[in-house]
């Protein structure tokens, strides 16, 4: 394994934030730490980056135990949520800043910074002040500043949370492209499931300082480790049927197909390309999806079949 976290634990005072956490990340993989606020995902990132020292456990990168290494010599680089760009330096100075500490001369540092800016498509604003460029550009500067050092592992803390919705999607793609081009191993933290699923090779879903499940987005979505994981990645319907309780996703039904269950249509919402119906089944309430051409009136009784259940 390229990045190996084994039995990490960390407490702040009497509050245990990370509890015996283990995680392996492969080389070139994008791993997402996903969880609600306070689950310990940012703390984990800080432990990997060396900003916090674990109370127990080890961090190994590329076969080297880096647990005791301070951030400046650890082969990781972090892109902060706020980007933490140096406000008194220009774009190129920001990017070249770390290069100087690897023993490069001022000219070399500048050259490598320019190359990196080229690679992220920012060479035209090299001499701009960081306050004068857009949020997306700032994001790329922060990324370039980290990547220029050729880190073995790139750490990103809520990388897209400061961007508006459209820009967020575009940046996600751009960062993914850059990641592929450099083949860098990435660990990023988010609480946004859509971001996690669209960006990560694998997810690590966290709760109360523990990892509940590590899996590809699809695996995690379809075969969640438990109900918490299941609900974190999307809405889960719960329906009592003869033989027990069934859990299923909104889209895992075929509406209008006989032989299953009968539901009465409540609210209907058109979400662009598909309908989302509220169905009352006895005492239970479920939400299901149907194609745009399947229109049911409120109060209509509709049969449906559950195609796939979630086993937890």
């Amino acid at each position: 394994m390229f990045l190996e976290l084994s039995h990490l634990s960390k407490s702040f005072g009497s509050h245990e934030v990370i509890d015996d956490l283990c995680l392996s990340v492969e080389k070139g993989e994008v791993m997402c730490l996903l969880g609600a606020s306070g689950c310990g995902k940012t703390t984990t990132l800080r432990l990997v980056g060396g900003f916090l020292a674990p109370d127990g456990g080890r961090v190994v990168i590329d076969g080297q135990d880096v647990t005791g290494m301070s951030p400046e010599i650890r082969p990781t680089a972090t892109v902060f949520q706020s980007y933490a760009l140096f406000p008194h330096m220009s774009v190129v100075e920001n990017v070249g800043y770390g290069v100087r500490f690897s023993g490069a001369t001022r000219a070399e540092a500048k050259q490598r910074a320019m190359e990196m800016l080229e690679a992220v498509g920012l060479s035209e604003c090299a001499s701009s002040r960081v306050q004068d460029i857009s949020g997306g550009q700032q994001q790329r500067v922060a990324l370039a500043r980290a990547l220029v050092l050729g880190p073995k592992v790139l750490l990103l803390d809520e990388p897209f949370s400061n961007l508006d919705a459209n820009l967020r999607i575009r940046m996600r793609e751009e960062v993914r492209q850059i990641q592929r081009r450099f083949g860098v191993t990435m660990v990023f933290v988010t609480h946004d499931r859509e971001e996690a699923m669209s960006f990560a090779d694998r997810l690590a879903i966290m709760r109360n300082g523990k990892i509940l499940q590590v899996a590809t987005p699809r695996e995690a979505y379809d075969h969640p480790a438990d109900l918490y994981c299941a609900r974190f990645l999307g809405h889960v319907n719960e329906l009592d049927v003869p033989g027990g309780t069934r859990f299923f996703r909104d889209e895992a039904v075929t509406l209008g197909k006989e032989g299953g269950v009968l539901g009465v249509v409540g609210d209907a919402t058109y979400l662009g390309g598909y309908w989302r119906y509220e169905l009352l089944v006895g005492e239970s309430r479920v939400y299901v999806r149907a194609p745009a051409n399947q229109r049911y009136a409120r109060g209509a009784t509709v049969p449906f079949v559950i195609d796939q259940t979630i086993d937890v």
């Binding site: 980056g49 060396g50 900003f51 301070s70 951030p71 400046e72 010599i73 990781t76 680089a77 972090t78 902060f80 949520q81 706020s82 933490a84 760009l85 140096f86 406000p87 008194h88 330096m89 800043y97 770390g98 500490f101 690897s102 023993g103 002040r129 306050q131 004068d132 500043r145 980290a146 050092l149």
Partner: protein, 545 residues
């Protein structure tokens, strides 16, 4: 390989900086102050009966506390009103008041006291000339008035910086929710200001209780701890009794320090959360000074401004007249005298003040960084030590320096070094506060990012933090410079022939009744201080696109 060596050097440098800070505190704070306090202890030989000294001076101690409490309350109330006008008032008026506030910092309080006597004394222009009264200006009222006037300036600057940080979106939200202006003030602004006001109260209390010059000039029969210390030292050469009285001030400053630390941390938290919030554009609706509050703030500000103008008008008048009083004939003699006799001393003062302003800024930056940012082991102690010299009377500090440095290993008495050192020690408290407040504004991610990129600690400090602390550099340099130019009691015993400073000549002229010459020296000091502060003040102006 090269980078490894660099890093090693970096951490060695980091250690060296911490060592500089610790060594400065040990050598120039602990040792001299300890040497002086030693005089009070039972086994030192010169020790007086501690209880006896305290009971004999209980009146003076109560007086000091009484005045300090009044001055703190009064000067904070005035400062709050003035700061509101400066922050929210009409632009032209606000910048005029800002100018006057800065001016008020540029002359020592005992010079202002002179003006006070000429204005409000028994033959004062206002009390006698205009109102026909014949009242004595001497007493606690005079001390309270003068100290309040003088300490208001620094409080305005402090409160203004806090007001600047008040989140305008919170104000907008309150207005949006239908709150009238006065309620916005009471419910939003005042609570956010509370830690800042508390800090002002504490700093003023400590400064007032240690102030010697004002009570000695206009206290009259009203004795304070500081004047008693002076009489014990100068009249009776009784260092032991002086040291015992100094212990009282020590206790006061320790209590203030503890309170300050607790408040200081809430202040940091407040500003951190505010700094993170997104502010609306400048032209959006915001807090306006209106109604009773506005009238009150403007009236207080106008009164404060007139007092400052009156003080300086008196000084200017005295500088260009012969003899005393308001009918004295005009003359340029004082200017001639200044050019003939005082130029050397003024030049020396500027040099000392620049050196100590630079040194206290450096030490203050290191202290703020190691104590508040890095939280190194022993932070509490370091923090206390850097704030200590500010809170004890200059005369005690100066005597401590003589006692500590009149023999090997560090025989510094008679050198310029000892003067720069004592001036530096006296100002590091304010420098540290300025840098601490400014550091709280710099997000901690910046340090992390720099370290993450491979920067050693020292590079983080110089390359990343320092450039973002311009305003703190400005505040620290201005304070260090003016403080050092005005310092009298601290250097009284350390100045040797050949190292005379301008404030000495000023005090001499004042003591000799040569008010004209004294006023002229003050004017020169004000002019120089203003010029230098204007230069440092450029640091305060943030770079804007």
């Amino acid at each position: 390989m090269r980078s490894t060596i660099r890093r090693r050097c970096g951490s060695a440098l980091d250690f060296a900086l911490l060592f500089v800070l610790a060594a400065f505190c040990a050598v120039f704070v602990v040792w001299p102050i300890g040497s002086f306090v030693w005089q009070a202890l039972p086994f030192s030989g010169s020790a007086p009966n501690m209880l006896e000294v305290l009971t004999q001076n209980s009146g003076a101690i109560l007086n000091s506390v009484f005045v300090a409490v009044l001055v703190s309350l009064l000067s904070c109330a005035i400062a709050l009103a003035v700061a509101l006008v400066v922050t929210f008032g009409r632009r032209g008026w606000a910048s005029l008041v800002t100018g006057l506030v800065t001016l008020s910092l540029a002359s020592p309080p005992f010079v202002a006291s002179l003006a006070y006597i000429e204005l409000f004394g028994r033959r004062g222009l206002v009390t006698h000339g205009l109102l026909g009264l014949s009242v004595s200006p001497y007493g606690w009222q005079g001390i309270v008035f003068m100290e309040a006037l003088f300490f208001t300036g620094i409080n305005v600057i402090l409160l203004d910086s806090v007001l600047e940080r008040v989140d305008k979106s919170a104000v907008s939200a309150a207005l949006d929710l239908g709150a009238p202006m006065r309620r916005v003030f009471a419910d939003i602004i005042l609570p956010l200001l509370r830690p800042g006001v508390a800090v002002c109260l504490l700093l003023t209390f400590v400064r007032s209780i240690a102030d010697y010059a004002t009570p000695v000039v206009i206290g009259g029969k009203f004795e304070t701890i500081s004047t008693q210390i002076y009489v014990r030292v100068v009249g009776y050469s009784d260092l032991g009794a002086a040291a015992v009285l100094n212990l009282v001030l020590f206790a006061a400053s320790f209590v203030a320090f503890i309170a300050y630390r607790r408040l200081g941390s809430t202040l940091d938290v407040a500003s951190k959360s505010l700094g993170a919030s997104v502010r609306p554009a400048d032209d959006e609706a915001g807090f306006r000074l209106r109604g009773a509050l506005g009238v009150f703030a403007h009236v207080v500000t106008a009164a404060f401004s007139s007092a400052i103008v009156a003080v300086y008008a008196t000084i200017v008048h005295a500088a260009f007249t012969k003899g005393m009083g308001w009918s004295a004939p005009l003359t340029l003699d004082n200017l001639t005298h200044l050019m003939e006799y005082n130029v050397d001393a003024i030049g020396r003062s500027i040099l000392y003040a620049l050196l100590s302003a630079g040194a206290s800024t450096l030490i203050g930056l290191l202290a703020a960084y190691f104590v508040h940012r890095r939280r190194v082991a022993g932070s509490f102690l370091l923090d206390f030590l850097t704030s200590l010299p500010y809170t004890i009377p200059g005369i005690c500090l100066g005597l401590g320096y003589i006692l500590a440095f009149n023999r090997p290993p560090l025989e510094l008495v008679g050198t310029s070094t000892i003067i720069v050192a004592v001036l530096t020690a006296k100002e590091i408290a304010i420098s540290t506060r300025a840098f601490t407040a400014a550091l709280a504004q710099v997000p901690p991610e910046l340090d992390m990012a720099a370290k993450d990129l491979g920067a050693p600690d020292t590079s983080v400090l110089w390359g990343v933090l320092a450039p973002n602390l311009r305003s703190a550099f400005g505040v620290s340099l201005i304070n260090g410079f003016t403080g050092s130019m005005m310092a009298y009691a601290a250097v009284l015993f350390l100045i040797v022939p050949g190292h005379k400073t301008a404030i000495f000549e000023l005090f001499d002229a004042l003591s000799g009744g040569k008010y004209g010459e004294a006023a002229m020296i003050s004017l020169a000091l004000v002019a120089i201080t203003s010029l230098v502060c204007a230069a440092f003040g450029r640091l305060l102006v943030k770079r804007r696109s």
